[in-house]
Amino acid sequence: MIAGEAEVLLEVMDLSMHFAARDGASGRVRGLVRAVDGISFTVGRGEALGLVGESGCGKSTTARSLLRLLEPTGGRVVFDGVDVLSMDARALRAFRGRAQIVFQDPFGSLNPRLTAGGMLEEVLQVHHLAGEATGRRRRAVELLELVGLRAEHAGRYPHEFSGGQRQRLGIARALSVEPEFIVLDEPVSALDVSVQAQILNLLSDLKADLGLAYLFIAHDLAVVEHLCDRVAVMYLGKIVEIGPAERLYRAPRHPYTKALLSAVPSLDRKSEPGYERTMLTGDPPSPMSPPSGCVFHPRCSHPKKDEECRRDMPDLEECGEGCFVACIKERSRLGGGA
């Protein structure tokens, strides 16, 4: 399977999320948006899997469908051996006690009328945790301290916090149910570099101390390289490459991964001798009318690109060192998969 070495906690198989695109005026269905189109991956216990790709590639939709914040249109999601998609309301609540999400914009996801402490106590009450009111109050303060805030912050409202503090609050809320798995959807994208460093340190401390597993969604490739054990690259609703972070950044195989990594501006690049950027042309196609064959072929600059790429959709196949790539030309270069 497309897995790392850790024991599997979450397994996603052939997950799809297709939306009906409707005409604004008539309401008639114009077509199908294949936001997520048959993707498979696993997240191990205590492992951080990075999910990267550009806007509209389906990263966030993937996260929301596997937590059933959206009902996926196809595939399977198995969490700790239990099928998530067939859970009833009761089982789903228990699942959400173990799998949480933190959003990019902490302000938009915090209730402006609840104090930090009140918000945490509410979650504890809903999930029947930490006993009675006094127990909940004590636990809320513990949670604030766990994410680097102080007891006196419990009485403050979201608008009284800075961006970084709000993100800490979002993390505290996710931690309140003592989850094993957290989806982090662009958790540091809205923050300044120096604040971002503080939150990244917090996330790696929590991962080490509490044994948390993360699905870390980000468009910033440097952030993912810093924090994640493995990385999956998405393009137009599909995973085109997945593997250990160190290997994927050092020796990317898929032409899209290469272009993506090459586009990242860096402090050292000007001084790298003979460096030439692989520049992609144009914009990604619409997920309403994806190209035939390999979805990346119209923008691909692989030297061996040919008729086969236009015709056949490649599957993810192993290409050594725990990496999987969905590229016909890279597969044949390696003499077939494993």
């Binding site: 550009e54 570099v193 460093a197 990244l200 790696s204 468009h219 090459s262 000007k270 520049m279 042309t281």
Partner: protein, 344 residues
């Protein structure tokens, strides 16, 4: 051009000195820009970096004379010279001519700068009418040429489309085409690629780089992304708390930072080198423009703080043996000498 022959060789294209832009609000006076001096030479690219609220954008808006007043005020003693001509206190008609013909600005979010109910082409044509007095078919032809120059695919087709029909990258190309319509000698780009994906960002930066070379246009690039500035700019100025704290060639500043803030910022960047380690963190939080710290504004967060730093604000001090400056007492001759002594 006659303008070029008029100017003296030692005169910068843009010279800002002791710029102070304050905002008077109900909660007090925000000293958003507080003594900024910078030079942009002809054809040069200067990067202005720093975190939110440090005064980057207010500096740019002051140069464009676009700071709303009230609440904004450019304090007496501030000077903004374009090709030697003072713009602070100049008549509105002169400023309009400057904005129309000499300096252009592009912003982070092209969708909010484009009019959603007008076709792309007619917005470029309007800019050409205003700035170059072109009319009718001629204006349309030049507009299509400009759209082609910014490498908008199918410029004739896009000419008749509305902004919402274009992708984010294409909209930013249209904004650049409009900015070029007046053939500016200075382009101020405020976070021009922040809202774009990384591959689109690479395309837009490549385009700006080509345009700069082909047109000999200077660029003042404002960005929070140090990588973008390192790749695009010749020189860089780092801002903190309304002031420039370090200035020099991009290569030197990013590889051998002198100011403790620049050092802290660079050390906090995640990436390959930081894998499996904790990131270095600048302690404390950025100060508020209503209440800049006394003395050196970075001293409450600085790892090298000395008694002097809390009492006396350092100027931008030249760094021996280079063209660089840093606003830090560590660069003062006495401290530098003491450092040599301890080393010996």
């Amino acid at each position: 051009m006659d303008i070029v022959t008029r100017t003296r060789a030692d005169e910068a294209l843009l010279e800002v000195s002791e710029l102070r832009t304050y905002l008077h609000t109900r909660t007090g006076t925000a000293r958003a820009v507080d003594g900024v001096s910078l030079r942009v030479e002809r054809g040069e690219s200067l990067g202005l970096v720093g975190e939110s609220g440090c005064g980057k954008t207010m500096t740019a808006l002051s140069v464009m004379a676009l700071v709303p007043s009230p609440p904004g005020e450019i304090l007496p003693g501030s000077s903004i010279r374009f090709e030697g001509e003072e713009l602070v206190g100049a008549a509105e008609a002169r400023l309009r001519r400057m904005r129309g013909n000499e300096v252009s600005m592009i912003f982070q979010e092209p969708m909010t700068s484009l009019n959603p109910v007008h076709r792309v082409g007619s917005q470029v044509v309007e800019a050409l009418q205003l700035h170059r007095g072109l009319r009718g078919r001629e204006a349309a032809a030049v507009a299509v040429e400009l759209l082609a120059e910014v490498r908008l695919p199918d410029p004739e087709v896009r000419f008749g489309e509305y902004p919402h029909q274009l992708s984010g990258g294409m909209r930013q190309r249209v904004m650049i085409a409009m900015a070029l319509s007046c053939e500016p000698r200075l382009l101020i780009a405020d976070e021009p690629t922040t809202a774009l994906d990384v591959t689109t960002q690479a395309q837009i930066l490549g385009l700006l780089s080509d345009l700069r070379q082909r047109r000999g246009m200077a660029v003042l690039l404002i960005s929070h992304d140090l990588g973008v500035v390192a790749e695009f700019c010749d020189r860089v100025a780092v801002m903190y708390a309304g002031q420039i704290v370090e200035e020099g060639s991009a290569q030197e500043v990013f590889h051998h930072p002198r100011h403790p803030y620049t050092q802290g910022l660079l050390a906090s960047l995640p990436g390959r080198r930081s894998r499996g380690t904790r990131l270095a963190v600048i302690p404390g939080v950025a100060p508020s423009p209503n209440l800049w710290p006394h003395g050196c504004r970075f001293h409450p967060r600085c790892a090298f703080v000395m008694d002097r730093c809390a009492e006396q604000a350092p100027d931008l001090l030249p760094i021996a043996g280079s063209e660089r400056t840093a606003r830090c007492w560590l660069e003062s001759p006495e401290t530098a000498a003491a450092r040599e002594d301890t080393r010996a």
